[in-house]
Symmetry: C2
Subunit: 124 residues, 2 copies
Amino acid sequence: MAYTTQQKLIVSAVIEKSNRPLTPLDICEAAKVEFPLLGIATVYRSLKQFVGEGSVRLVEVPGAPPHYEHVSRPHHHFFLCKQCKQLFDLVGCVRGIDAMAPSGFQVDSHEIVLYGNCPDCLAA
Amino acid sequence: MAYTTQQKLIVSAVIEKSNRPLTPLDICEAAKVEFPLLGIATVYRSLKQFVGEGSVRLVEVPGAPPHYEHVSRPHHHFFLCKQCKQLFDLVGCVRGIDAMAPSGFQVDSHEIVLYGNCPDCLAA
DNA sequence: ATAGATGCAAAGAGTTTGCATAGGT
DNA sequence: ACCTATGCAAACTCTTTGCATCTAT
């Protein structure tokens, strides 16, 4: 059974409080503010546990490194700006996407990513 | 200006003849059949050149390592089987996907991936 | 002849793992 | 007391780079 440690509590809190998906390094650096000795290996181990328990979701966006977010964030997809490499949330979802699979395939989930330029980069 | 070498011709041919996206290692091993001395570094360097020239496309699917395919393959998306980790082509594309972006965002391209179980894995 | 390409090995980035120690139960 | 979690460093995977050599032009 998993223990409740200071490190995990802080890692969990960092993810839950964030309003955007974070990389393992983002999480480690944010958590180090409160727990300077925290090692990156502990962050990876905690993330693996949280994802397994279902409280944290892995966000994999082609063109960006792996990010993690709390599952309480609603189902959404992302826009990746090719210039500034920032991830933006998209609201809503396209219906009928799962129907793209040929018959015989069982679809559990889907991922959509839009690529382009964000308003700020377009202005520059 | 880039030279035309045996290595690049073979790497290019391997990608063009394949009916599915390949990883750099897939490509290296296939090319070694005709050119045993070929090094993995040359494959990576060739891929970078081809992608820059626009003859090869990088296929990034969350949950799978980077794959490459020839641009002559039509625009399509993928189905990734969670069990056997194999990539399947999807035919067609959902209209109106680019409209998911908020106003002010310029959308250049998009990526869609479906996840689930393929017929073979469902049968097992 | 010359500039670019190659193969090897070493270097990097990101992630995982082994092990002795610290810490939760 | 016991068993798990931690921190560090080493190991691992994938990709890139430095360098001497080779090759296409």
